[in-house]
């Protein structure tokens, strides 16, 4: 139970000003960078107009981290970077060095601690992911475990820069898609495949029925009375298991160990480089949920990465490669089955049908 505040409370101060945290070299050359080079996988060198050079060493983190580990990073920052570090938009950690000679010792220390250096240039970076069974109520699967399993298998793709282009994998544990699953080169998405089971007894106590009804994208939920109390009914054929009803109403649980699983999506991107940003498209509609190492998921992702690495041209992102060779070729090369589920049948579905006689044989 919350209690009234005693001392004058501090609120609405916002985040600390970033300038407090900038390394001196960054402050000095802020906005005055001239160009950069990648010295080695995970090692960047940014050169300023002033001639100053800033060295960045990027290492992977598991994102889900104990304070013990963060303190180790802080120690490294003290040791090599005057106490400065940053994280990246993909949950990697970056050490910012003034002295080139510190690069190798830092790399050694990181190796010892078990944090691989890499993720720059034409490599696979860290997987953007979500909470999974670690913290979320919606999760159709775990996130961290799959990320770990996939990255174990693709470790060399992180530490080497031998891919055709940058490769971004994302993982989300339900259709809410916290993160960037909808626009990733490869995306792993936890899915439910059976409709929610309505808990009529608790529903009126804990849910706003109109909100619940409005929540269903397909209108599968209709008002109904259950034992005299207002509740809802579900037209099961209209349910595509998005879980939005559960988000607004706890009495609509849809977790189901037997039928929850994973789907794999490919070809999305967000950069505007060369081609416009794109959504990820369905590659594999369903794979079983097999903790602790999800071998089917790992295999499917590795397969895609291998086929891509082998077939794409330099600077071609996954989606650009597939668009060039065509989706039929993608399915041929990966051996994934093309099913009715691949053909869109939601709102704008018709726009995905092939409306030309341009076909490869």
């Amino acid at each position: 139970m919350t209690t009234a505040p005693k001392t004058p409370r501090i609120t609405d101060i916002g985040p600390p000003h970033y300038q407090k945290f900038l390394p001196p070299l960054v402050k000095k050359n802020y906005g005055q960078w001239k160009y950069h080079e990648i010295l080695a996988p995970g090692v960047l060198c940014h050169v300023a107009e002033s001639g100053d050079r800033l060295y960045t060493v990027r290492a992977a983190t598991p994102r889900l981290m104990a304070v013990q580990t963060l303190r180790k990073f802080a120690d490294l920052a003290d040791k090599y970077c005057g106490g400065h570090l940053r994280f990246t938009s993909r949950n990697n950690i970056e050490f910012l060095l003034e002295d080139r000679n510190n690069i190798e010792p830092l790399k050694c220390d990181l190796a010892e601690l078990g944090f691989p250096v890499g993720g720059t240039g034409n490599s696979l970076s860290n997987i953007v992911h979500t909470q999974g069974w670690v913290h979320c109520h919606s999760a159709a699967t775990d996130a961290s475990g799959i990320v770990k399993s996939v990255m174990d298998a693709l470790y060399d793709r992180f530490t080497h820069q031998d891919l055709p282009a940058k490769l971004r994998i994302a993982m989300a544990c339900c259709l809410n898609m916290c993160g960037a699953v909808h626009c990733s080169d490869i995306a792993i998405l936890g899915i439910h495949t059976v409709p929610p089971k309505i808990q009529h007894a608790t529903l009126p106590k804990v849910c706003e029925v109109p909100t619940l009804i409005a929540s269903c994208p397909t209108g599968a939920i209709r008002p109904a009375t259950y034992e005299g109390k207002p509740s809802v009914e579900l037209i099961e054929e209209q349910c595509m298991f998005c879980g939005n009803c559960y988000t607004v109403c706890p009495a609509m649980p849809l977790n189901d160990p037997e039928h929850d699983g994973l789907s794999i999506w490919v070809g999305g991107k967000v950069s505007n480089a060369r081609s416009a940003p794109k959504f990820s498209k369905l590659a594999v509609p369903f794979l079983p949920n097999h903790p602790p190492r999800w071998p089917e998921v790992v295999d499917a992702v590795v397969k895609i990465v291998d086929v891509y690495a082998k077939n794409a041209r330099k600077y071609e992102r996954v989606g650009e490669w597939i668009e060039r060779v065509g989706w039929p070729r993608f399915f041929q090369l990966t051996g994934f089955e093309f099913t009715r589920y691949h053909i869109d049948d939601f709102k704008h579905a018709g726009l995905t049908y092939a409306r030309s006689a341009q076909i490869k044989y």
Binding site: M1, T2, T3, A4, P5, P204, K205, V206, C207, E208, V209, P210, T211, P230, T247, V248, C249
Partner: protein, 105 residues
């Protein structure tokens, strides 16, 4: 199901302290729940907000959107936070006996 006890009166609540028996609500219930919300006394201002939310809920089956709440009660949002330190959703709706809002308050 957790229970909230106030001077001997027992209420079935969820983990967050929201009343689970909407039909039991009365002004006294609101008063009891006020204690959990760092509210000393329920003033006219509190009642204006509680009643508006309660009536809206009875009529439409949902909690009003915050914007609407402000417009109709005449309180600015920060004033509502002054009345209900946990805010309209966690505070005011709880006192009004609504289920935990997942929408917009």
């Amino acid at each position: 199901m957790p229970v909230f006890e106030c001077e001997g009166r027992m209420y079935e609540v969820d983990e967050d302290g929201f009343l689970q028996e909407p039909e039991r609500w009365s002004q006294d219930v609101a008063k009891d729940f006020a204690q959990t919300e760092a509210i000393a006394d329920l003033t006219d201002g509190h009642w204006k907000v509680i009643n508006y939310i309660r009536n809206y809920y009875l009529q439409f089956g949902i909690a009003p959107m915050v914007r609407k709440l402000c417009k109709e009660t005449g309180y600015k949002l920060n004033e509502i936070y002054q009345l209900f330190p946990s805010g309209p959703a966690k505070g005011a709706c709880k006192l009004a006996g609504l289920p935990k809002p997942t929408g917009c308050v």
